[in-house]
Amino acid sequence: MLYPRIIPCLLVHNKGLVKTINFSNPKYIGDPINAVRIFNEKEVDELMVIDIDATVHQREPDYQMINNLAKECRMPLCYGGGIKTTYHAQKIFGLGVEKIALSSGVVNNPQIVTEIAKRVGNQSMIVVLDIKKIGFSSRYEILTHNASVKTGLNPFDFAKKMQDLGAGELIINSIDQDGEMKGYDLTLTDNIRKEITIPMTILGGAGTLDDIGALIQRYGIIGAAAGSLFVFKGKYRAVLINYPNKKEKEELINKYFYFKQ
């Protein structure tokens, strides 16, 4: 039986870990390598690390940092941030990263999905879509550059396009829910789900394990990613790297995963 995945998502800004709210006001969390070590001990399913500076500063990925993270990480690692070319992707893949995530890179050059997939395999070519509700009609739109650039792109059409071009997984990141810890945007997820059959991971809004449970209950096999939930504790958001232990995970799965019932 395949299980849903529960995935901590770490943001790197000025070489340190941060957490944002609606992609703003980064709050310092700690050292990335230290966090990876803690997540190793907790035997997390997968880890996502996103460098939120690379694209906006127009620089290449920080290969040294990626190398250090990959060396430490004992579970599948997904890295994103500043990847724009096949060369970047292959170099990072060679450092021992399982999944290469692109966001603005594919918005500006969708064909790169196919090119990169040829080198690393479809399963490792991941697309991250940062999505926000725009305007009076509250229609969903893809944004890039830490939510500062509007693309005019409809996420549902674009998701299908990414699948068709060979993406192995889609990470749907809700800018509106980011850091709010009020639950995932299930409407957004429902509508993306209709368009694709490749694996999806949902990010943005998880405030409790029950939010993750609600996602699993609704979609079954899905990736439930979270930032705030796994780096903060309590209502004053004290920094504490955390993750459900084996027993808590089993209980969550047994309660919410349909195939177990």
Partner: protein, 202 residues
């Protein structure tokens, strides 16, 4: 432990696991290093033809075959490294190594009960046989999988673990000194480390 580096797979992750297990490990890019090997790991990530042709063009195939087929050096193929042990794959047109008879097939979408279909991605359970590779790894142990094709062995006894994804497919093969696992032990926490430890002691 010798990791065959022919350009495919997460070599570093294997090195890290063996270092943590205190098992001496080297990365082999030359014939000489492979000649000296007592155990071989054949990593593999990517499409069948890409992986097969990378191996063919690496200049290492002859010496690896001599070790495996001639000297009976234990070898463990990982993910695509397991798939190339077969005769052929539906994913490509190239010939596999043929060290374990079988064909590599694509998962039938209609048989997958989830709304997410392909690839098979995430932690899934194995049902192992009595093979030494699975010593202290009980049925139900989970490993990390990410693949769209699976190995269909010709001879039942070559299957040493099965996993369910719509169908029950073979998640590990073993014949004499040749082993293959479809999942990624180098990224499967303690279960993966246990399996790699078992392989080192086979």
């Amino acid at each position: 432990m010798t990791i065959v580096d022919y350009g495919c797979g997460n070599i570093k992750a294997f090195v890290n696991v063996f270092i943590k297990l205190n098992i001496p490990v080297i990365i082999a890019t030359s014939k000489a290093k492979i000649e000296a090997a007592s155990r071989l790991i054949l990593p593999g990530v990517g499409a069948f033809d890409f992986v097969m042709s990378s191996f063919n063009q690496s200049g290492l195939r002859d010496v690896v075959e001599k070790k495996v087929l001639g000297e009976k050096t234990p070898v463990l193929g990982i993910c695509a490294g397991m798939q190339i042990l077969s005769d052929a794959s539906e994913e490509g047109t190239m010939e596999g190594l043929g060290w374990i008879s079988g064909k590599v097939r694509m998962f039938e979408i209609t048989k997958i009960p989830f709304s997410t279909k392909n690839p098979h991605m995430g932690w899934n359970e194995i049902k192992p046989s009595a093979s030494a590779l699975f010593c202290d790894i009980p049925a139900g142990s989970r490993f990390y999988f990410v693949h769209s094709y699976y190995f269909e062995e010709k001879n039942n006894e070559d299957a040493i673990a099965r996993t369910n994804y719509g169908i029950d497919f073979t998640s590990a093969v073993g014949k004499d000194n040749v082993f293959g696992v479809q999942f990624h032990p180098e990224k499967s926490h303690s279960n993966g480390a246990k399996l790699l430890y078992n392989f080192a002691n086979i």
